[in-house]
């Protein structure tokens, strides 16, 4: 179990918006410690029993929150992230989609200089099944277990987690790093955390076309990760030059293809699944074996 657990205390930035309210209710229902919400000008209200503050500083002072999840609109999200980092949360999860990449670049720089783990933007969040869900993932499809997942795609994570759960393979933690071209945490630090996590036996890495993060992760796995890894790449049939939904999912000038990523995986002895459903099969084979590579 990595990044979040039962002790993680969460402040929800943008708690009074539609998304904020909906997912606060779902996270509370899941058992996540949502201790505070922030909406400037709404201090003193409550949302599903959670006290709302005007600033993150107040929220942290009153509740000792150590994690923030951001639902505020795209052009205000960078400032919201700065606020949380400035105040000193240790984990910042930005759900918001459509943040201008120049803003994200600034936020990444600020988070790095403050040694804050910044997840997202445009990500589904993170769940340690049975312990804490900080994000917008549907909690019911996850199950506590030994598979660590890290992915660029939200719904594809759900699809694969569902297949794992139905195959009775639970998850230690599922991390959605998001599909934007510029982002906070990438595969490598998550892989390191899983490698060190006693609750994780197998790692599932879900990638997609665009950029070279999967190739870099493959190289890193080859050199540093001893636990078995199963990979999946979406977009094998994607035409070049077209943005496939995610801002980052584009094959440009021949680079970022699924083929290149799958080859990199194979070179790094990562088992590659052809369909989401196949991931569960491969994991189940690996989890029965002793975890050597």
């Amino acid at each position: 179990m990595i990044l979040v657990n039962k002790d993680t205390k969460v402040v929800v930035q943008g708690i009074t918006g539609k998304m904020g309210q909906t997912h606060t209710a779902r996270m509370l229902e899941y058992g996540t410690q949502i201790v505070a919400g922030v909406t400037p000008g709404r201090g003193g209200q409550t949302v599903h029993g959670v006290p709302v503050f005007d600033t993150v500083a107040q929220a942290v002072e009153k509740t000792n929150a150590n994690c923030s999840i951001v639902f505020v609109p795209p052009y205000l999200a960078c400032d919201a992230g700065f606020e949380a980092i400035h105040v000193g949360v240790s984990l910042l999860v930005v759900i918001t989609e459509g943040i201008p990449p120049n803003d994200t670049a600034k936020l990444v720089n600020y988070a790095n200089s403050h040694k804050v783990t910044f997840m997202g933007p445009n990500c589904p969040g993170v769940v340690s099944p049975g312990h804490s869900l900080i994000g917008i993932m549907p909690g019911s499809i996850f199950k506590e277990g030994k598979v660590g997942m890290v992915s660029k795609s939200g719904t594809l994570t759900y699809e694969i987690a569902l297949a794992l759960t139905e195959a009775n393979l639970g998850q230690s933690t599922c991390v959605g790093v998001g599909g934007d071209p510029v982002k906070g945490i990438e595969y490598q630090p998550v892989l390191n955390l899983f490698e060190a996590d006693p609750h994780t036996d197998v790692i599932v890495l879900i990638g997609e076309i665009g950029g070279n993060a999967e190739e870099k992760a493959a190289q890193y796995i080859k050199e540093h990760i001893k636990k078995p890894v199963v990979g999946f790449i979406a977009g094998q049939t994607a035409p070049p030059g077209k943005r496939m939904g995610h801002a980052g999912a584009i094959i440009s000038q021949g680079s970022g293809t699924a083929k290149s990523k799958i080859e990199a995986f194979e070179k790094a002895n990562i088992r590659v699944a052809k369909t989401p459903g196949q991931v569960a099969k491969l994991v189940s084979e690996l989890i029965k074996q002793p975890a050597v590579k």
Partner: protein, 368 residues
């Protein structure tokens, strides 16, 4: 959003990036009002690259020749893009060509300058390309180092650096994905001029850039009509060659569904990612967009509700089925409120297949 050359040059001029004198015309008779002297350059204004190779740039030695060339260029279609207008400029005596651009480097997570002293060709094919990350806080000295690294000195170094500095300012202030001058030319007298210009505005930033307000629709002319419609509806659609319409939520799942269709022998008609949190109206609009494809034989709808509520999707399906009872639908619907959705759809002839692989195979069978 891609801009036309003349629009990019207008922005260059606002920021003091030197450009040649130019005039935009839409009719050959407008040539009579151009007094630059001859020879002239006539350039098709199209939202695509490779214009030169496609014959979209011509020179004219006289008014008569220009009047002969202009109608041909105005009729030219390049890679599916119709010519909107011509930009007319004096033909310059070029002594040197450079390439210069600013873009966000996704691997480094910061903007980068890209420059080379070989201009006029595709930068991917040039040698000695200098890529320089722009770390925070920016200061203009970086542009001088850049100019030095591509081999400039003397006044050319300062002029190149000053242009690079301005490109960076435009990149940041206008929220761009790319700003490019190719070629940046040195002419007789040693002035540097942006002979061509390319600007790609970041789509996510359009709403905070009042300068570009209302530009989007007129700048999607290079997209197929349905993709254009989809973009204006805020859904991500890419048209493909097959017959199985695909509608999912989430880019990764949509791509994976598309890949599975291909894997099991089918042909996807499109990629449509309705996005997270699609409500009833958006889902209905997405269904209608997929249905516009004349080759379409079946629609495969695959929704795994995270933000999306399954009952909203179900209600959209009901509306769609009422209007298009003849369209074959294969629906897989799981996640938030999936039981409600089942209940809603139970009153209609919509078959729900909870297993993805089975759903994909059913869709392929229905299409063949």
């Amino acid at each position: 959003m891609n801009l036309y050359e003349f629009e990019a040059k207008n922005i260059f001029a606002q920021y003091g990036v030197p450009i040649p004198p130019s005039k935009l015309i839409t009719r050959p008779q407008d040539l009579n009002k151009i007094f630059f002297g001859y020879p002239l350059t006539l350039k098709c204004q199209v939202l695509t690259g490779g214009r030169g190779k496609a014959g979209g740039i011509k020179f004219a030695k006289s008014l008569a020749e220009a009047q002969k060339i202009a109608p041909e260029l105005l009729d030219l279609e390049i890679k599916g893009c119709k010519t909107q207008s011509l930009l007319v400029e004096p033909k310059l005596n070029i002594t040197n060509e450079y390439y210069l651009s600013v873009t966000l480097d996704r691997e480094l997570g910061v903007p980068v300058f890209i420059a080379t002293s070989e201009g006029g060709v595709e930068v991917e094919q040039a040698k000695n390309v200098v890529k320089m990350p722009i770390h925070f806080p920016y200061s203009a000295f970086l542009t001088r180092t850049l100019a030095y690294k591509i081999g400039l000195n003397g006044e050319a170094l300062n002029k190149f650096a000053s242009i690079a500095d301005k490109l960076y300012q435009i990149f940041i202030e206008r929220d761009l994905d790319l700003i490019e001058i190719n070629p940046l030319v040195a002419v007789e007298g040693n002035e540097l001029l942006a002979l061509d210009g390319k600007i790609v505005v970041n789509d996510d930033s359009l709403m905070r850039q009042p300068y570009f307000a209302g530009w989007l629709e007129s700048h999607l002319v290079d997209l197929p009509k349905v993709e254009r419609l989809a973009k204006l509806h805020g859904v991500n659609l890419v048209e493909l060659d097959g017959d199985i319409g695909i509608l999912c939520n989430g880019a990764g799942l949509t791509m994976a569904t598309m890949d599975m269709v291909a894997e099991f022998g089918g042909k996807p008609a499109n990629f449509l990612d309705a996005g997270g949190g699609s409500d009833q109206a958006k889902t209905l609009a997405a269904l209608e967009l997929v249905n516009k494809n004349p080759k379409l034989k079946v629609i495969l709808l695959n929704i795994l509700g995270g933000i999306t509520a399954c009952d909203d999707v179900a209600n959209a399906l009901v509306e769609f089925v009422k209007a298009h009872s003849n369209v074959k639908l294969v629906v897989r619907l799981r996640g938030n409120n999936q039981e409600k959705a089942k209940e809603i759809l139970s009153h209609y002839n919509v078959k729900l297949i909870p297993d993805l692989e089975e759903a994909v195979k059913t869709a392929i069978a229905l299409a063949s």
